[in-house]
Symmetry: C2
Subunit: 391 residues, 2 copies
């Protein structure tokens, strides 16, 4: 298949592009490198050094003989979006090209507006580009488990059968997320479902859990193929952040009570889920949702696990929660769709943690301890704006 | 109370400002006049001539001795939004300042992106301006009944009690609307609920039905106080459009089978609902939703009613539906919240229709029959883009 990966220079976009290429697909990458720009803005960098896209692509070609086409531009620039769809003529579009950090969206008004505009407009442009070029192109869109929030009922895969006053309907699963970033994904989901309904587009919305890990079978072959390892309080996901704290000999910082339970997924499963979705496309007019996660765990238990298995003595510290979220809640998620397509999950294991400890240990000299402390506070936009501009 | 009406130069914003002023409130108006700009873009105009805002405000002062403060600017300009909140220091903000026509949002990609950006960013700026200035300011936001779509279960007021697999939760009512405009309001609703949850803002979201009528007790006092009467296929609401078609001796054009059932409300009830919401504010942290409609009717029955009561012989014509929507569906809506606050609805009556016939008759020489034909087609963005640029 011909597959274009939007945001293909990012943490997950890059390993996904490699995995699809390795599995025999014709792959193109589009990116505007804004993710690298956020690093400069925040004064942080990936723990693991990463090469520029041109070097990455050259290294992949050198090692495998495979080509990755590249397009540099922004989905919010409609001319660019139409051009890549018309030139590359993909069978499937994998859409990672969004601002993806909840804390970044909560820094202040500008970051909230930027996140929602960037994500919603980029996706709208893409929907129109597909509808006007070839409605049979399969859109594979990255959503997030955070769209659902923490309802007191089981979380289903995007849709919910509701009986109310004796009548029944299948409705979009009601969402109640906890950041302007997560909200931007809810907006996208509604827009995409509508495009499927009126234009007959075929879309798969992957509500992904928190990703951990840094290596895939493809990236591990050469240091030049490494993907990002974000450990900072803005872009670092919880498990990766804990591992770097442990490597630095610092306490693992849990926000609030730590009873927040989240869906998780190994980066190796992420790239495999995308392949499965691409090779088993949604039908024309279908808005298909999968919950792309393999297990759930509370933040407290995750911290304990990292601390218990780490070779050094590691403590757990409970911080005032900078976010506004339930710290003890019901959480049960259906996530069978991707397993039915063939996913064999890598569950969180000692082996994985040990290999992550080694990665963190190798590069811990690059970590800035200050970047690990949360500065963005959900409750007070004014205070956060000041902290954000200072650091 | 001190109340600022955003979009206070528009069809409903203007009569609302007058009604609140008449009821003894200190009223300010903010507008960027983009609604008047859409007329120039589309080559149409209000059936009833309307005065510039300065003339309107002067006339109101002349007649009543009351002042209306005015601010000219765009909510997407955050400096402007912060300034009006900080200068006027309202107790309540009534937010009509959005692009409000479904067909306009469906003209092409640019209009879809414009509608969602304008509406979502304006509202985000407003939420931040309130949160950072005075979180006790009551936000009264105009939503639309179209946010719900046409579910097969009863439509409740914004929230739904759901039992699923033996567990229960109160969730945001699941939405599935039918245009990029309606979707923009769904996005707003999610953003506003979040702002109430994390910042303790107090908001009332009024999901309004299709408004009909053109005169209120205040606007009728002087021709210079008249509000818009949109009859064109892009901005005209269905009943107002039928009345102008009847005045011109043209058939009433029903889209598809006409079984589409919609909630309706008299313009006199709209302005009263806003007053009631303002005088009975939501509590801090509360995201309160009312369905601002007083009765439901199918488009077919509405056409028949207008035809039957009109003094001339009027025919009904069924056109191919330019939209993608269910033409026969269940529709039952709870709308008791505003009645509990004191609303006494004006239901659709022969008297109202007769007075509207008179308005249409007086100004029918200003109507352009071509503007009454639908040109925007939901199914094919490419075809619509061409029709849009041509007309």
């Amino acid at each position: 298949m011909r597959i274009i990966v939007l945001g293909g220079d990012g943490y997950l976009g890059w390993p996904t592009a490699l995995h699809l290429s390795e599995c025999g697909h014709e792959v193109a990458i589009a990116d505007n490198f804004v993710r690298r720009q956020y690093d400069h803005e925040l004064g942080v960098q990936s723990l693991v050094p990463i090469e520029p896209l041109t070097v990455r692509v050259r290294a992949w070609h050198e090692l495998t003989g495979k080509q990755l086409a590249t397009y540099v531009g922004d989905l919010c620039d409609a001319d660019f979006t139409y051009r890549i769809i018309r030139e590359f003529r993909p069978d499937a579009v994998v859409h990672f090209a969004e601002q993806r950090a909840a804390p970044y969206s909560m820094i202040d008004r500008k970051h909230a507006v930027y996140t929602q505009t960037n994500n919603v407009v980029g996706t709208l442009n893409l929907l129109y580009a597909i509808a006007e070029t070839d409605p049979s192109i399969h859109l594979i869109k990255l959503g997030t488990m955070g769209e659902y929030g923490t309802p007191n009922i089981d979380i289903e895969e995007g849709w919910l059968e509701v009986t109310h006053k004796g009548r029944t309907d299948r409705v979009l699963y009601p969402k109640r997320p906890s950041s302007f970033y997560h909200l931007s994904k809810v907006h996208d989901s509604h827009n995409i479902e509508f495009a499927c309904r009126i234009w007959g587009l075929a879309a798969t919305d992957l509500n992904q859990g928190i990703v951990y890990g840094q290596q895939t079978d493809e990236t591990v072959r050469d240091d030049r193929l490494a993907t990002r390892f974000d450990y900072d309080a803005v872009f670092g996901t919880v498990l990766n952040r804990f591992i770097v704290l442990a490597a630095l000999g610092q306490p693992l910082t849990v926000y609030g009570e730590g009873g927040q339970t989240r869906g998780l997924i190994d980066i190796r499963d992420t790239v495999e889920c995308i392949r499965l979705a691409a090779e088993h496309p949604a039908k024309p007019g279908e808005y298909r949702v999968f919950n792309q996660m393999t297990e759930s765990m509370s933040v407290r238990d995750l911290a304990k696990l990292v601390a218990d298995l780490h070779p050094n003595a590691v403590e757990v510290e409970y911080l005032d929660n900078p976010r506004v979220e339930a710290e003890a809640h019901y959480y049960k998620v259906t996530h069978s769709g991707l397993v039915e397509l063939g996913l064999t999950p890598h569950l969180l294991s000692e082996t994985l943690l040990t290999s992550l400890y080694a990665v963190a240990d190798r590069y811990k000299h690059r970590a800035d301890p200050a970047a690990l402390r949360p500065t963005v506070r959900w409750r007070s936009p004014l205070a956060t704006a000041r902290a954000g501009s200072a650091g």
